[in-house]
């Protein structure tokens, strides 16, 4: 039981990071139906910038929490700039081009950002300075660290404030209007270009925070970290219903839990010996495991494919799979 509880804690923490990244995908998709393939790289740049700033400030003797906050404070505007630049230079000129064009551009942008990061921060895996002492608390046999609690709290706050922004402010109304019908929104006096740019900037800012959280949680950052994280977060967004903000949160958390439980239990469930099949390998307490934790990375893709095939609108979303 404590194992199960622990897996839930693990899954929730990883899932809430996915959720914050997924918000970036879903906001952009919701408004201009573009899969911003390069969003994962924005997250990576957030983590890298924070890494540099934190490393610079460690000798200054400031309180650790302040250092991390300054690190995040530097990462967010830089990522926002990257997000804006991306939209302005690579996506806006293609807004009316056939669908594949911006997707291919996005792949190109993603490669470029990765290799610029490589040149700045090297190829090596960077050890995020462990300045905030991590304490483990045991609740019902499950360990939860201070950092995990902080991550859960921050993610929840971010999601709540984003929901308020989108559903309770004039800017949010403008965003939703643009998402529904850009032409009409334009006729109603909304500056569509501005709204789209703001969406990219907000998404990138969230990505930066996610990057910092990821770095402090796992203690590492590397120029390639964005691609896997981005793909998983995208799967989460699709699971929740892409374009749907509460959907992205739900999808992120669910995917995190599915991955944790999957990696934790798939081996036991697919042990042919445990099914009672008499195999030579089973003698003397042996095992014959069909799928072990080695298939952990398959879950995200499997979720993605299954959702797109059987319920393209996702758990909470509108139907988008066959939108022209």
């Amino acid at each position: 039981m404590d194992t199960f509880l622990q897996q839930m804690v693990n899954g929730l923490t990883a899932g809430s990071v996915y959720a914050v990244v997924a918000l970036g995908y879903t906001m952009v998709y919701g408004i201009i139906q573009l899969i911003n393939f390069a969003h994962g790289e924005v997250v990576m740049i957030g983590a890298m910038v924070a890494f540099s700033v934190i490393n610079l400030l460690v000798p200054s003797g400031l309180p650790p929490l302040a250092i991390v906050l300054i690190g995040a404070g530097c990462a967010v505007p830089i990522c926002m700039l990257v997000g804006y630049g991306m939209e302005r230079l690579a996506y806006r000129p293609l807004r009316h081009a056939p669908r594949l064009a911006p997707l291919i551009t996005a792949i190109g942008v993603s490669i470029i950002l990765q290799h610029i990061a490589l040149m700045i921060w090297s190829r090596n895996i960077l050890a995020f300075p462990q300045i905030i002492p991590s304490r483990s608390y045991f609740i019902g046999g499950a360990a939860i660290t201070t950092i995990q609690i902080a991550i859960l709290a921050i993610c929840f706050m971010l999601m709540a404030s984003l929901a308020i922004l989108v559903y309770r402010t004039p800017l949010g109304t403008a965003m939703r209007a643009t998402a529904q019908n850009p032409q009409v929104a334009g006729l109603m006096g909304i500056d569509i270009n501005r709204v789209i740019a703001v969406t990219f900037i907000l998404g990138a800012g969230l990505g930066a925070v996610a990057g910092v959280l990821f770095g402090t949680y796992y203690g590492i950052a590397q120029y390639t970290m964005g691609s896997v994280l981005g793909l998983k977060a995208f799967s989460a967004a699709v699971l929740g219903g892409i374009g749907n903000i509460p959907g992205a949160m739900l999808g992120g958390v669910l995917l995190g839990v599915v991955e944790a439980l999957g990696a934790g239990y798939i081996g036991d469930f697919t042990d042919v010996c445990a099914w009672g099949v008499p195999l030579a390998a089973c003698e003397g307490g042996g095992t014959f495991i069909l799928f072990g934790s080695n298939y952990q990375d398959v879950f995200a893709f499997l979720v993605l494919i299954l959702v797109l095939v059987f319920r393209p609108q996702g758990l909470l979303g509108e139907r988008v799979g066959d939108r022209a």
């Binding site: 690579a90 594949l100 893709f301």
Partner: protein, 357 residues
């Protein structure tokens, strides 16, 4: 090809063919003068040409962006490796395995295509990417509980191609000329590549080719015109995949050793870049793209390092990094300024320019 006006002068066409054919036939010997390495590099380049042509059927003709194309290459390579290596003690002849590899790859193409028929372009791209990764993860992990692919250790001692006593890996003397292993492979690869080019050319203007084009332009309209979009899309996936499978089998034999690390996502993106850069849907464009992008790393290797060492006294930016930056930049710039690629296909050009305007 509108390079020369050949109307009323069919001999000019034949002359052109003869010249190109002769150049291609003599090429490996010229390259071998500079070093057999260059013949090997040329061989890998031809493999990429095959891959790019295969992907072109899916992306260029039918308009389905496939980001996991390398999976079919992997399937073909493993099919060959498993049937012609000590892994299972099987040593079937290559002319039997290559078609098997192509068929298995085609089957996987249909497996990927069938559930994704309803998906729109960008969704399809992501799903294919996931599919490619899943295949790689499976190949990497199918060493237990029963050892099938030997997992990350890969498969060694894969048989080279051979015909009776004629072994493609060994140097030989044919008609009094010394022919090294790579040169023999070159001719075989060239032959297969030419066959693929012919198939592509014939497909382009066939009923099927035009139906694909219709699907690419407007799927709903195509269906309304009575085109069986489901089967045609599946056919595109299957055909594209089978070319990838053949290329994979040849890679396996030439390399003699394969492991899942040769079939990573970057390879898929590289093939997509070739197709996009050269010109989606235009066979000559795609070949040009494949040639350009396969030689870029070699060119960079010869230029970037010495130039940097002369300027800064040491290597600041690795050629590999510059290569990837160029790839990324090429994708972005081509889409922004020349969306139909370097050598656009006529239809594609019209279509893309209309939209951009």
């Amino acid at each position: 090809m509108r390079f020369f006006d050949t109307r009323g002068k069919p001999w000019l066409v034949w002359l052109g063919f003869a010249l190109v054919g002769l150049a291609l036939a003599l090429l490996p010997f010229a390259l071998a003068q500079a070093g057999t390495t260059w013949v090997r590099i040329m061989n890998y380049t031809i493999l990429y040409v095959m891959l790019a042509l295969g992907l072109n059927i899916v992306v260029g003709f039918a308009g389905l962006l496939d980001l996991g194309y390398i999976a079919f290459y992997a399937v073909g390579a493993y099919a060959y490796a498993l049937l012609a290596s000590p892994q299972f003690g099987l040593h079937l002849p290559f002319w039997l395995i290559l078609p098997i590899g192509a068929a298995v790859a085609a089957l996987f193409g249909v497996l990927l295509g069938a559930p994704t028929l309803k998906l729109r372009g960008d969704y399809l791209a992501i799903v294919t990417l996931g599919f490619g990764e899943i295949i790689r993860i499976f190949l990497n992990n199918m060493s237990r509980p029963v050892n099938i692919t030997n997992g990350p250790q890969g498969i060694t001692r894969i048989d080279p191609f051979s015909f009776g006593t004629f072994n493609f890996a060994r140097p030989d003397t044919v008609l009094g000329i010394d022919v090294s292993g790579p040169i023999k492979y070159y001719y075989l690869l060239l032959l297969v590549a030419l066959a693929i080019i012919v198939v592509n050319l014939r497909l382009q203007n066939s009923r099927i080719g035009r139906a694909w084009e219709a699907i690419r332009e407007d799927e709903i309209a195509a269906r309304a015109m009575g085109i069986d979009t489901r089967n045609l899309k599946l056919l595109a996936f299957a055909m594209g995949a089978s070319f990838g499978g053949v290329a994979g089998g040849m890679f396996s034999a030439i390399q003699g050793f394969i492991s899942p690390e040769s079939f990573v996502l970057v390879e898929s993106i590289m093939v997509v870049s070739m197709v996009v850069l050269g010109g989606m849907g235009n066979i000559w464009g795609v070949i040009l793209g494949a040639l350009l992008l396969s030689f870029v790393p070699e060119i960079l290797r010869w230029t970037v390092t010495p130039v940097q060492e002369a300027l800064f006294g040491r290597m600041m930016v690795e050629p590999e990094v510059i290569r990837m930056l160029l790839f990324g930049l090429a994708l972005v710039l081509v889409m922004l300024f020349r969306p139909a690629g370097l050598l656009p296909s006529a239809v594609r050009k019209r279509e893309l320019e209309e939209h951009v305007a």
